[in-house]
Amino acid sequence: MKFLAVCGFGVGSSMILKMTLEKVCRERNLDCEVENTDISSARGMNVDAVFTSQELADELKGSMKCPVFPIKRYMDKEEVGKALDEFLKNK
């Protein structure tokens, strides 16, 4: 599975979100690849799901074919885990 962690610049917050995602994937024994990037590069990328902030999720939704999950706290394992579980349930 391939996930995308997105923030405004693709260097700081999205990197943290990528680390949190990788951690929750490991905890679920899920084989996944996570990339992080900025909002303009994210558009149209071919991935299974996108995780980003509420504001950027609203902007991205129209230009992605996959589900986009808004995350409030990029470092919160519980919140990111919940979003991931929701994705897995609806897959």
């Binding site: 923030c7 405004g8 610049f9 693709g10 260097v11 700081g12 917050s13 990197m15 943290i16 680390m19 949190t20 951690k23 909002i39 980003t52 902030s53 509420q54 504001e55 950027l56 995350i71 409030k72 706290r73 990029y74 470092m75 919160d76 394992k77």
Partner: protein, 140 residues
């Protein structure tokens, strides 16, 4: 890596500040003084929150202000401001501001991994929230 970037001289503790914009400006002073960043980087960090939302609040009470790598940044750097009283950042109370100034997409990854690992441990998170700079320095 984190310890080398976040030197003691880059850490400040304050009772309170008037706004989150002030918090970012104050937190950035050590980096500005050493020529690690330019004024424009501080403006870019504030603009980013206004444009992209408050996602720099990575955990409750903890924010990582940053902007585009290499724009107004001369060298990789980090600085810290802890507040005894939280300030509102667009609906999120924040007590700890960790400014990140990155030069490219990769050279700071190790430091971010260190921070992420540190803060996910509740004991270390509490030490950051206490604002005690000596104790914070000890756990880096």
């Amino acid at each position: 890596m984190l310890k080398e970037l976040l030197q003691k001289s880059h850490m400040q503790q304050r009772e309170k500040v008037d706004s989150w914009e002030d918090a970012i400006k104050i937190a950035s002073i050590p980096l500005l003084k050493e020529g690690i960043i330019e004024e424009s980087y501080i403006e870019n960090m504030i603009k980013s929150v206004n444009k992209n939302g408050p996602y720099i609040v990575l955990m409750d009470y903890f924010a990582l202000p940053h902007a585009k790598a290499g724009e107004g940044v001369n060298r990789l750097g980090m600085s810290l401001l802890t507040l005894n009283h939280p300030v509102d950042l667009k609906g999120n109370p924040v007590k700890v501001f960790l400014v990140l100034a990155a030069v490219d997409a990769t050279s700071h990854i190790e430091a971010l991994a260190d921070i992420s690992k540190l803060l996910m441990d509740p004991k270390n998170y509490e030490i950051f929230m206490s604002g005690d700079l000596d104790k914070i320095n000890d756990i880096l």
